[in-house]
C-alpha cells in the first residue's frame, strides 16, 4: 500500500550517474525454440533490477502453481516476458515485445523477438531499429540452420553489432573446448556472410548461463578461460549505430510537413511574448534528420520527385522556440530556407551535391512478411521516407537460401522469404543504397487493397553501377 523507497538505488540512478546525459541503446534478441531466450531476457531484467516487486510476486505465484524449481529462488524467469493470454496458454511467444531497463550507464530498449515460425518477420522488425542484436545458441546444439538464418538476416539489415550468446554453458560443464568449437563455427559462418569483416558490422561471442546468470550481468568465475566482458557490459559499452555512422554520412531530411501558421499562432506562445508581426509569414519545414548533421549557412539541395534538385541555403533551424546553430540525426527540428521554393511533404532536403539523381527503377532486396505471396506483375505501394508511390513489380529475380546464402531461382516470394526484385515506380524517388544508408535506403511494400505491410525493402544499386561484391549474389 505504501511506496517502498530504496534510496540507495535512487541515488545511484539520479545522483552518482549522469542520468540526464545517459544515452539510449536499442537492441534485439533472436533465438531458436527452447534455447532459453525468454530466460535470458528475464535474467537481464531481473539482475539489472528492472523487475519490480509486484511483477516478481506475480511470477513467483505462477511459478509455484506450476511447480517450477529453478535456481533463481524457484522463479521461472521466462514468465517475466510472457505477454498475451494466448501465449501463456500455449507456452509460446507470438510477437515482438518491447522491454525497458536502465543501468547507471545507459537506458535500454529491448525488442524481444520470438524465434519460431515467423522468425524472419520478427527478426527483421526487431533488427530494423536495433543498434545490436543478441543471437542465442544452445551450447549443447551449437550452430543450427536457424542460427545461420538469423545471422544472414542481420547481415542483410546491416546491424552494427551482432553478439552471439552461447547459452546453457552450465549444461556442458562450463567446457572451454565446447565453447571454442562453437565460437569457431560462428566465425566461419560470419566469414561466409561477410559479418564483421566489412567495416560495418562486428561479431562477438559470449558464453552464458541465463538460468544461473553466468556472464549475463557479472563475469562468471565458472568460465575462467573466458576473459571477455559479460553480456550487459558489452551492451553498455558498444557504440550506438548513430555514433558509428554520423561522421560517415551526409545530411538527409525527409520533409514531414510545412509549418506555416499564417496568423494562427499558438496562444501560449503569444502569451509567452512571441512577436506576432515577426511570425506572420513564418514558413519552416518540419522533419526528423535521418542522417548526418546540418548547420545554419549550409548549402542544401531540395529534392522533389520529377524536378531537378534546387540548391539553397539553410537560414534557420528551429525547435519549439529555440534557434539552433546546428542539429544532427535523430533530432526532430524545423528548417527555414533562404529561397521561397515550393517545398512539400515527400520532398527531401539533403547536403548539396551528395545525392544522385532520383530514379523510378527500383532494384531491391525484399524481406517478405505477409502470408499473401508476391507475384510478378503485382501492383503495390512503396513507402520511402515521407512519400508513398504506386509501383509495379516487374520481376522477381530469385530468393536467398538463408542456410547456404545462395540465390535460388524463384518468380514469387512467400512469407519469410528474402529475395531480389525489380520494381517500376510511378514517380522517381531519391533512392540510396541501403548498404550505406540505413534510413534512405529502406522502404515498405504495402498492399493497396487492405493497407497491410507486405515487405521490408532494402535498396540495391542498379545493375551496371558499381556494385558491392557482397550484394552481387
Amino acid at each position: 500500500m505504501t511506496t517502498d523507497i530504496d534510496t540507495a538505488r535512487a541515488a545511484a540512478l539520479l545522483d552518482e550517474a549522469p542520468l540526464a546525459s545517459a544515452s539510449l541503446f536499442r537492441f534485439a534478441t533472436a533465438g531458436s525454440v527452447d534455447d532459453g531466450k525468454s530466460t535470458l531476457v528475464g535474467r537481464l531484467l531481473h539482475d539489472s533490477k528492472a523487475i519490480l516487486a509486484d511483477q516478481l510476486d506475480a511470477v513467483a505465484r505462477t511459478s509455484a502453481d506450476r511447480g517450477f524449481g529453478g535456481a533463481a529462488g524457484g522463479i521461472d524467469l521466462a514468465l517475466l516476458t510472457d505477454g498475451l493470454r494466448a501465449e501463456r496458454e500455449q507456452g509460446i511467444t507470438i510477437d515482438v515485445a518491447y522491454r525497458y531497463f536502465a543501468t547507471d550507464r545507459r537506458s535500454f530498449i529491448l525488442a524481444d523477438c520470438p524465434g519460431h515460425v515467423q522468425y524472419t518477420k520478427n527478426t527483421v522488425t526487431g533488427a530494423s531499429t536495433a543498434d545490436a542484436v543478441v543471437v542465442l545458441i544452445d551450447a549443447r546444439k551449437g550452430v543450427l540452420e536457424q542460427t545461420r538464418r538469423h545471422l544472414s538476416v542481420l547481415q542483410l539489415l546491416r546491424v552494427a553489432h551482432v553478439i552471439v550468446a552461447v547459452n546453457k554453458i552450465d549444461l556442458v560443464d562450463f567446457s572451454e573446448s565446447v565453447f571454442r568449437e562453437i565460437e569457431a563455427d560462428v566465425q566461419k559462418v560470419g566469414r561466409e556472410l561477410g559479418l564483421g569483416s566489412d567495416g560495418i558490422t562486428d561479431l562477438l561471442v559470449v558464453p552464458v548461463s541465463a538460468l544461473d546468470g553466468d556472464n549475463v550481468v557479472e563475469r562468471s568465475e565458472r568460465t575462467p578461460w573466458y576473459t571477455g566482458p559479460a553480456l550487459l557490459e558489452v551492451l553498455e559499452t558498444l557504440p550506438a549505430a548513430d555514433e558509428l555512422e554520423s561522421h560517415l554520412e551526409s545530411f538527409r531530411f525527409p520533409v514531414q510537413l510545412v509549418i506555416r501558421p499564417q496568423g494562427a499562432l499558438a496562444p501560449d506562445a503569444v502569451a509567452g511574448g512571441l512577436d506576432v508581426e515577426e511570425y506572420r509569414d513564418y514558413r519552416a519545414y518540419a522533419g526528423q534528420i535521418t542522417e548526418g548533421s546540418v548547420k545554419v549557412g549550409d548549402k542544401v539541395s531540395v529534392l522533389t520527385p520529377g524536378q531537378d534538385p534546387r540548391t539553397t541555403t539553410v537560414i534557420g533551424i528551429d525547435f519549439a522556440g529555440a534557434s539552433l546553430e546546428e542539429a544532427s540525426a535523430p533530432q526532430s527540428v524545423a528548417i527555414r530556407l533562404a529561397d521561397e521554393f515550393d517545398v512539400a511533404r515527400g520532398d527531401t532536403i539533403a547536403a548539396a551535391g551528395t545525392v544522385r539523381e532520383s530514379t523510378a527503377d527500383l532494384y531491391a532486396q525484399l524481406c517478405w512478411l505477409s502470408p499473401k505471396p508476391l507475384r510478378e506483375g503485382a501492383k503495390v505501394l512503396v513507402k520511402h521516407g515521407t512519400r508513398t508511390v504506386q509501383a509495379l513489380v516487374r520481376s522477381v529475380n530469385g530468393k536467398l537460401d538463408l542456410a547456404t546464402f545462395n540465390l535460388e531461382g524463384a518468380s514469387s516470394l512467400e512469407l519469410n522469404d528474402i529475395g531480389h526484385a525489380q520494381l517500376r515506380l510511378a514517380a522517381p524517388l531519391p533512392l540510396e543504397n541501403y548498404l550505406h544508408h540505413r534510413r534512405t535506403g529502406a522502404f515498405l511494400v504495402i498492399d493497396p487493397l487492405d493497407g497491410n505491410t507486405l515487405a521490408a525493402g532494402l535498396v540495391k544499386d542498379h545493375p551496371g553501377d558499381h556494385e558491392d561484391e557482397r550484394y552481387s549474389i
Binding site: T3, D4, R88, S128, Q256, I259, L274, D450, N452
Partner: protein, 315 residues
C-alpha cells in the same frame, strides 16, 4: 570496427558519448516525429486528454511539434462522471490556454439513456469504451493519439506505435503489422481507425524526468497532500461523492499522492511525502512497485485484464 571478432568491444569514448543525444532528447524527437507523421497522413486526428500526466506530456509534445503554430487537432476526453473535480478544472484551463477544441464523451449520459449499465463493483473505467468509440465515430476521427506506454503492461508491451482498430474498435494482437525502421504505415479502410502511441518507448521515470526538465504543470493531486482516505483492496481510496467508505472501513487523514489519475471509483492513492516534481522523480526511480499494480483496482480483476479491455476497444 573492421577487425573480425574483436576480443573486447570498442569502448564509447567520452568525446563520442558527449555528442550523442540524451535518452530523453532521443525519446522526445521520436515522439514528435510520430505526431507529425500522423498529422500529415490522417484526415482528422484527435488526442485523448484526461489531464493525467501521460496525456499532459503528449499535449506538451504536440505544442513543440507545431510551434509556433497551434496544435492542429482537437482533444477528446471520455468523462466517467467520477473524475476528480480538480482534474476536470485542470483540463479546462489547459484547453483554454492552448486555444484547443475539447470533445467530451460522457459515460453518465450513456447510463442515463440506458445504453450502459453501472457495474456491480461501481467501477466505471471499463465503461469508457462505448462512449469513446461513439465519439470517434460521430466525429469521424481516423487517428486517435494516446499516452499509452509499453512499460505499463504486458499486453501494451506488444502493441505497435500505430495500432489498427477495426469497425468495433477492437485490437487484434495476433494480426499486427510489422513496424520497421521509422516508417509508420497508417493505411486503413473505411470504418477502421488508428490509435497512435508516440510515447510507447517511454518509461514512467522518463515521463517524470521530462515533466521536471520541461517544467510541465500537472493537476495538484500528483503531489503529496493531506486527504481523507480509507483502505480498500489494498489501496488508499479517497472519500468523495462517488467513493464512500463502507461501515467497517475507517476514514483517516493521510499524506498521499496519486501516481495515476483516473476514475475516482477505482484509482487509489499511495502514501507519499513527495511534494515537488524532484521528490517524485526520486520516488519513482526508487519505487519497487509498478504504477498500475500499485494503484489501479481494475487491472487486478484478472491477469489478462488489460488485454481483454484493449481487445474491446479500450485505450
Amino acid at each position: 570496427m573492421s577487425t573480425f571478432l574483436t576480443e573486447e568491444p570498442t569502448l564509447v569514448t567520452d568525446a563520442a558519448a558527449s555528442t550523442r543525444l540524451s535518452s530523453l532528447d532521443t525519446l522526445e524527437s521520436e515522439a514528435i516525429h510520430i505526431i507529425r507523421e500522423v498529422v500529415a497522413e490522417f484526415e482528422k486526428p484527435a488526442l485523448l486528454f484526461s489531464g493525467g500526466k501521460d496525456s499532459v506530456v503528449m499535449l506538451h509534445l504536440a505544442t513543440k511539434a507545431f510551434w509556433p503554430g497551434k496544435v492542429p487537432f482537437p482533444v477528446l476526453h471520455v468523462d466517467t462522471g467520477h473524475n476528480f473535480p480538480e482534474v476536470i478544472d485542470f483540463r479546462d484551463r489547459t484547453v483554454d490556454r492552448l486555444g484547443l477544441k475539447l470533445v467530451v464523451g460522457s459515460v453518465q449520459e450513456f447510463i442515463d439513456r440506458g445504453e450502459l449499465a453501472e457495474r456491480a463493483d461501481g467501477t466505471r473505467n471499463p465503461l469508457q469504451t462505448v462512449p469513446l468509440l461513439d465519439a470517434i465515430q460521430s466525429n469521424k476521427f481516423d487517428a486517435v493519439f494516446g499516452g499509452g506506454r509499453r512499460d505499463e503492461d504486458k499486453a501494451r508491451a506488444k502493441e505497435r506505435i500505430l495500432s489498427l482498430r477495426d469497425e468495433f474498435g477492437q485490437w487484434d494482437p495476433r494480426n499486427q503489422r510489422p513496424e520497421l525502421w521509422n516508417l509508420y504505415n497508417g493505411r486503413h479502410t473505411v470504418g477502421q481507425h488508428v490509435r497512435a502511441f508516440p510515447i510507447s518507448n517511454w518509461t514512467e521515470l522518463d515521463v517524470w524526468r521530462y515533466i521536471e526538465r520541461e517544467n510541465i504543470e500537472l493537476p495538484g493531486l500528483y503531489y503529496a497532500h493531506d486527504r481523507e482516505v480509507f483502505a480498500r483492496d489494498g489501496m488508499w481510496r479517497a472519500v468523495g461523492e462517488v467513493s464512500q467508505p463502507l461501515p467497517h472501513e475507517e476514514v483517516i487523514t493521510k499524506t498521499v499522492r496519486y501516481r495515476t489519475v483516473g476514475d475516482m471509483s477505482c484509482t487509489g492513492a499511495v502514501e507519499s511525502a513527495a511534494a515537488t516534481v524532484r521528490d517524485v522523480v526520486i520516488e519513482v526511480a526508487a519505487s519497487t512497485i509498478t504504477e498500475r499494480g500499485a494503484t489501479r483496482a481494475d487491472d487486478r480483476i484478472s491477469e489478462a485484464a488489460m488485454e481483454d479491455r484493449k481487445k474491446d476497444g479500450y485505450f
